[in-house]
Amino acid sequence: MNWLNWLDQFIEVLVALAAAPLLLGWVNMCRAWLQNRSAPSLLQPYRGIRKLLHKDAVLAHNASSLFRIAPYIIFGTMVAAAAMIPMLGTRLPFTAAADAIALVGLFAAARMFLSLAAMDVGTAFGTLGARREMMVGFLAEPTLLMVIFVASLMTATTALPLIAENLAAAQLAIHPSLLFTAVAFAMVMLAENARIPVDNPATHLELTMIHEAMLLEYSARHLALMEWAAALKLFNYACIGLALFVPWGLASNGDPIRLGLAIVLLAGKLAVIGAGLALIETLSAKLRVFRAPEFLATAFLLAVLGLLVRLLQVAR
């Protein structure tokens, strides 16, 4: 049933594309509720994207071709990542390529193009945002790798689908190392997706912004793609986290019923993650930019501790 697998793969990408803005809308909605504001509609991100797609693009005079193709590259990278991450099934055609290290590399490529595009026009804000993004990135990446290494150590593979399968099949036990790495992963997720302790996604006019500063020169369809890619990135990170720490309920082959079940389960898990994200963002204050390395150093430390504890408690 090869074509069925491909169909499932197609469905997975479609689900990711459609659900990513929905997740963002859900997080914003929860945040508004928690902060006693009247919530924007769940569909607000879609409306934003549609509005932007209907506008005419304006480019700076000195914008190079890199500036114009960057949104497509970044969006493409995120779609590729979404296809690879085992969010619905573990035995889909593309998930064979989902080596965790390759995934980290994909995200790094997207970050590089984002930063290059931000510096391309040469405005002060873009350069500033790009530099800060690189600073956050170079601290977050080793942490992400470390988190993945712990899971790899436990399952003897770096392929994300196999990690998820093995962890789901393993006997239930208390793994302090997984607990530590889960916290580390949550911190990396906050930092990488420009959420509150590191960056504020709602701000546009402050010297503290990171991600928004890089998008200032973009308009219309380019901006729409960038924002969609950002939503996809959050979605992808959430799905990596789910594959590592809550791997139950993934469909293993192309069985349509299992797949439907997996979609429902995924929606439930993501709803919980979104609410948790909103809670963290409401409870914590934005850190000064110079405190961000400290935040990420803590995440790295947690991941390393997880690794060490794992090594200690298995060696005998």
Partner: protein, 222 residues
């Protein structure tokens, strides 16, 4: 890895959390939170002791667990909080090494401690011997804290957390020390704490501060 019984898993998890708490102490600047973390460490220690007591069926371990609870969760934190209020020291000054730096040194120390404990752990017959590495790491991390902090208060917290590490190591590897030794240590800590409390006041009276760097020069007026 599937053969470890649940209670041992819990002790291992508690050990890991103990290590984590040591790191959060290293990164904490507020002295009040430092004391709260110490109390939490005591609580973890109590739970771990009771778990080991239940596993091995040693009655005196229950007693020492209760002693730990009374002393390290209730009394000492209360005493420290009272001292903080009366001395009005709420913040430590910036430590000798900045905090990410301290953390990195801490990670190296943990690696060192685990390596150090490996041959010892192989001699131990108990299944909780994994905890030896963590106990050594907690002790060395508390050392690090005492070295890098300058306020007397945080150094005392480091000292107490070091004792916690020692206690955890002894408890988890040897089914607890004899009751006399344990009572002796508990009394020692208590007296040390009371004496140090008096010292704090003396130090502050002399130097108008609890910063121990003032004690480094022997003569006045340099």
């Amino acid at each position: 890895m599937n053969t470890i019984p649940l209670d041992l898993q819990i002790v291992n998890a508690l050990a890991a959390l103990l290590l984590l708490l040591s790191f959060s102490m290293l990164s904490q600047r507020r002295i009040v939170s430092l004391v709260n973390l110490l109390a939490m460490q005591g609580l973890l220690l109590t739970v771990a002791t009771l778990m080991v007591a239940w596993r091995t069926g040693e009655t005196h371990l229950y007693l020492s667990g209760l002693l730990t609870f009374a002393l390290k969760v209730l009394f000492l934190p209360w005493l420290l909080h009272r001292l903080i209020r009366r001395l009005e020291v709420y913040w430590d000054t910036e430590p000798l090494l900045n905090i990410p730096g301290t953390m990195l040194v801490g990670v190296l120390i943990v690696v060192f401690a685990f390596g150090l404990a490996q041959p010892i752990a192989e001699l131990a017959s108990e299944t909780t011997r994994n905890s030896i590495g963590i106990a050594v790491a907690v002790i060395l991390l508390s050392f690090l804290m005492m070295i890098t902090r300058s306020k007397a208060m945080s150094q005392v917290v480091g000292f107490l957390s070091m004792e916690n590490g020692l206690f955890f190591g002894a408890m988890s590897t040897t089914r607890g020390m004899p009751m006399v030794v344990e009572l002796g240590i508990a009394l020692d800590i208590l007296v040390a704490m009371l004496v140090l409390g008096v010292f704090f006041f003396q130090i502050r009276e002399q130097f108008d501060s609890l910063d121990l760097h003032h004690l480094e020069s022997l003569k006045e007026g340099d």
